[in-house]
Symmetry: C2
Subunit: 315 residues, 2 copies
Amino acid sequence: MTGPLVGIDLGGTSIRAAVATGASGHGATVHRDTPAADGPEAVLDACAEAAREAGGGTPLVGAAIGIPGPLDAATGVVNATPHLRGWEGVNARAMLSERLDCPVAIQNDASLAGYAEWSRGVGRGSSTFVFITVSTGIGGALVMDGALQHGATGTAGEVGHVPAATGGARCGQGHPGCLEGIASGTAMARRAQEAIRAGVATSLSSVPADAIDAVEIERAAQAGDALANEIFRDAGRALGRALGGLINLLNPEIISIGGGLINSGDLLFTPLHAGVREIAFAAPLATCRITKVELGTDAGLVGAVAWAVKEFGQV
Amino acid sequence: MTGPLVGIDLGGTSIRAAVATGASGHGATVHRDTPAADGPEAVLDACAEAAREAGGGTPLVGAAIGIPGPLDAATGVVNATPHLRGWEGVNARAMLSERLDCPVAIQNDASLAGYAEWSRGVGRGSSTFVFITVSTGIGGALVMDGALQHGATGTAGEVGHVPAATGGARCGQGHPGCLEGIASGTAMARRAQEAIRAGVATSLSSVPADAIDAVEIERAAQAGDALANEIFRDAGRALGRALGGLINLLNPEIISIGGGLINSGDLLFTPLHAGVREIAFAAPLATCRITKVELGTDAGLVGAVAWAVKEFGQV
């Protein structure tokens, strides 16, 4: 390596960057707020600033950035970013490469988090690996035959956007009966709000509607609230059934589950495992380990650093 | 090649075998009835006889066989064969290898049909390819990054066994709300029979209950029967939504659809395409070609021959 390789994790509210060190480490994390309202130019200015600082001011050899939305890694063009306005059709790779004066690779942030968990986390040594992250949305990544799967145009890995019901609640992309529309934190909160409006008796009525989130629903469920428990049961079961389908489809060695929702423990995982058993064939289920992630909220940044090394590091 | 390579397609009622010729052809097809009731030993005797005849009596260099059920290609052990009794735990590879005195590869029959469509059919030249076959059951195969996907223990590719509803009708494996339990020919027939028993007015009432199949339902639908049309609408939509999920998950270049049900044409494909659009992201949908298979009922045999060449042919 003749100069620094930097990974950047772009989120809806903050930007993190770090330089690769040794075989699989990274230096201190540089933070910036995401100037989301100012649009892609300003956000990529802030990303470049964080990356340059992470690299210690030395000219960079290469950088990889994780973007919160579907994109085409081959062309560098972002398709849509549900949590950042105005990015559709933007060539984030070209724009960041110009700012940093070095080659840049872009990937979906969940793909990079999955790549991190596979190469440096709970999936180490496996060749068929599924990563799913459940928070306000549901994202993920697939590793098949020892390689992160991109598909034909780089959008593969959307494990949150498979059918979970014949119709009904919509995901963030507007698709009825999609897993994300049932099992994400956003979907759970919306269901609680709708139930309250419909007059269902629940302790969540005392929480301001816009403050209801998965954490509040968990608190209510732990205290015995029937609606909150039902919401967790249905979300966990839908997640489990979707993972059961992935077991039949992909026959993975490991499925690793991350995101804020996993902090709910048995409330989520008991119905989740029951849901898996409803759908999965016995043989591939018996050899599949379903486990929590190892790297947690660092996964996105670790993955961006690892991807920069993979793409631009000297072998 | 120093001797013949043979492919064998084992079905619930008949066995077909053929020898590889040239780069991608095969010789005349040898047929045998499947002595299914006599168990695996007798069935594999018949397979071996057909293979030897296909090979012209010359000692074989290698053979590949497609088996109608999930199995572990690495160990050669069959997990279950819904349409052949008594095969669970049978090492079909070892038993056939002993009979033929040559190395044998075994694969799920739908995997081989998918391999045929990808390597010698409608999927030629693609690197990310989904094959789905819809008849009495629903099977399939996945090609990612230019390779047939086996998963950790060889059972990958079960595209018919993903969630399609929150529960309800069960697939052949007993899983509630599974795609196969809604959209297979068997599921469609069962739904018609149940509706008739429940007193729904339909022209299918005049058909003996055990003679109701997808062909009868299609005939009734074409003649304007409301129940038959509804059954096709729901099956086509569920298939389409499942394929939409695969588009989000795998971002394939081509999805090829085979099996008896595709003869129903628009009756199946109109709701299928609508179902795809309900779930699929716009970007990967725009670059995915959804098409009928090219090789039809020959795909299983062509795939077995191609697999024998791949596994045991000289490069």
